[in-house]
């Protein structure tokens, strides 16, 4: 079978959409069609005007995030005893691909009991200017001590201000980000 025959036998069926061509340029007919197309364009833009703006006025109005949105990290305490969940095992630091977590562990003593385990994190720092928000630290943590929060407004004036210490991560964050409701998600 020759190529020509193959091409003539090939039936594209419904896959092919008829191409809408623009008006042919030039001549009175072209001008007339261009006039019609102009009116169509005006109608299209006017419809956008009627629909109204879709902009979200960002600082006042925020896009709701999904529940599993990976924002800024949070460290957690046990709700009943108030002890830190983190035991300073450094698994998060080991899992971190960006190498932005620094943990220095120290022993819990009976009169200075910080965490529920044997040891606690004396230093726990996350360099958020390096963090890629992959969430591996959250996965690696055996005690669910570190999770990713919903906060994404973290810009600052100095790089050094982006190194978050343990106290900052433990502090109950201001929930500045709206969460998506089930209706939002279902939409």
């Amino acid at each position: 079978m020759s190529l020509q025959e193959q091409q003539s036998r090939w039936d594209p069926g419904d896959d092919v959409i008829a191409v809408q061509r623009g008006p042919n340029p030039g001549g009175a007919g072209g001008a007339y069609r261009a006039f019609g197309e102009t009116l169509r364009g005006l109608k299209t833009t006017f419809a956008r005007l009627v629909e109204g703006p879709k902009t979200i006025q960002y600082p006042e109005e925020k896009t709701p995030v999904f529940p599993r949105f990976r924002g800024r990290h949070r460290l957690h305490r046990f709700e009943d005893s108030g002890l830190e969940k983190c035991v300073g095992c450094s698994l998060c630091a080991a899992a971190c691909p960006a190498d932005c977590i620094r943990v220095v562990a120290a022993e819990n003593t009976p009169d200075n009991r910080v965490s529920a385990g044997e040891r606690y994190a004396a230093v726990y720092e996350i360099n958020l200017s390096r963090c890629i928000f992959c969430g591996y630290c959250q996965v690696a943590c055996p005690f669910d001590a570190i999770t990713m929060g919903h906060d994404y407004e973290m810009s600052d004036y100095n790089r050094s201000d982006l190194i978050f210490t343990k106290e900052m991560l433990l502090a109950e964050p201001l929930e500045r980000t709206p969460l998506r409701t089930p209706e939002d998600i279902g939409r």
């Binding site: 030039g26 364009g41 299209t44 006017f46 956008r48 005007l49 703006p53 879709k54 006025q57």
Partner: protein
């Protein structure tokens, strides 16, 4: 309509007011028209935003209403910069020419007929000359010197290219714009804008018998004001800013204001020539104080239409622009003038 005080050889100018009224009314006219510029600026940005699913400026003042003023203030207080390659005095003169021409054209647009204000007869227009339309066209022609000199005196290739484009475009479209009006002039039998409005008051608005002329005039008006889709002279994407690339601060503001003033002027001319000026349909004995309001409302409608078109149509290619002007608009305008002439003669003969 107005008694000429002296037998002028070329044009009769209906001066019958005392000199202080003339100064006063030109000040008021200037004030009103100049305030339409920030309004058009703001309206453009807001409406353009709405046409694109955006809000437009809404930070400065309530609903962004002071945005235009903030922009103008910022421009005016900027340093007056001049490129080393520029030709100094021409560089400074060009925005002035653009501005003066735009304002001067406004003088012939009538907002109402003569009205009685505190016992004084005042015509609500700058001047009412016998050659109103010619006057408007003359200043439109001079206005192009503003762009041309501005582009040339900048000593920059982008400015020069923009200026050349503007020159070619203005010349091409001024021809068809003028021819489109010939029909109107023949039907009304006068060049005076107030008399044309009065003619429309007595008969029909020219938009109905002269619809083709109206369309041609409108399209040429877009080209004359360098507005999208005919903004080849600026063509941000290709020429940076066209003839005003090298301008900044107050001079740029003057060019910008002149552009918007031109928009106002073309809207005013269209309203006067085709939409019956201060007439309200089916209400011939409307109170006189409504007249300027009617004119301004119609003008605002046209300004909105200008913005709407800008939000809709993409910029033409340069050859498309030229072939559209010369091959479509000009023959159509000529045909319109011919047909109108035949009909006018036939009606007058019978």
């Amino acid at each position: 309509m107005t008694p000429a005080l002296s037998a002028a050889p070329f044009a009769e100018v209906g001066y019958f007011e005392p000199w202080w009224i003339q100064i006063l009314k030109s000040l008021v006219l200037f004030f009103v028209v100049f305030n339409l510029v920030p309004l058009a600026l703001l309206g453009e940005r807001k409406l353009l935003g709405r046409l694109q699913h955006r809000y437009g400026p809404n930070r400065v003042g309530p609903y962004g209403s002071l945005q235009a003023m903030a922009d103008i203030g910022k421009l005016v207080f900027k340093e007056q910069f001049r490129p080393r390659t520029s030709i100094g005095w021409l560089f400074s003169l060009a925005p002035v020419i653009a501005m003066v021409c735009a304002v001067a054209t406004m003088a012939v647009i009538p907002f109402s007929d003569t009205v009685d204000i505190f016992g004084t007869q005042v015509g609500l227009y700058g001047i009412d000359t016998d050659i109103g339309i010619l006057y408007a066209f003359a200043f439109g022609g001079i206005a192009f010197y503003g762009l041309m000199l501005g582009g040339w005196a900048s000593g920059s290739k982008y400015s020069f290219l923009g200026a050349m484009r503007a020159a070619a475009q203005l010349i091409s479209y001024e021809v068809s714009q003028g021819l489109a009006l010939v029909g109107v002039i023949m039907m009304a039998g006068t060049l005076s804008l107030t008399e044309i409005v009065e003619y429309q008051q007595n008969t029909l608005w020219f938009i109905i018998p002269q619809f083709v002329g109206f369309l041609i005039f409108l399209v040429s008006g877009f080209a004359e004001t360098n507005r999208a889709p005919f903004d080849l002279a600026e063509a941000d994407a290709e020429l940076i800013g066209g003839y005003n690339t090298e301008y900044g601060g107050g001079r740029f503001a003057a060019f910008f204001a002149a552009e918007y003033l031109n928009m106002v002027v073309v809207s005013g001319l269209t309203v006067t020539l085709f939409l019956g000026g201060w007439n309200i349909p089916f209400w011939n004995d409307a109170p006189t104080f409504l007249d300027p309001i009617v004119v301004i409302v119609k003008m605002l409608g046209f300004l909105l239409f200008f913005i709407w078109v800008r939000g809709t149509l993409p910029r033409l290619r340069y050859d498309q622009l030229m072939s559209f002007g010369w091959k479509v608009l000009l023959p159509l305008a000529t045909l319109n003038a011919l047909v109108t002439a035949i009909i006018v003669v036939a009606v007058n003969e019978s």
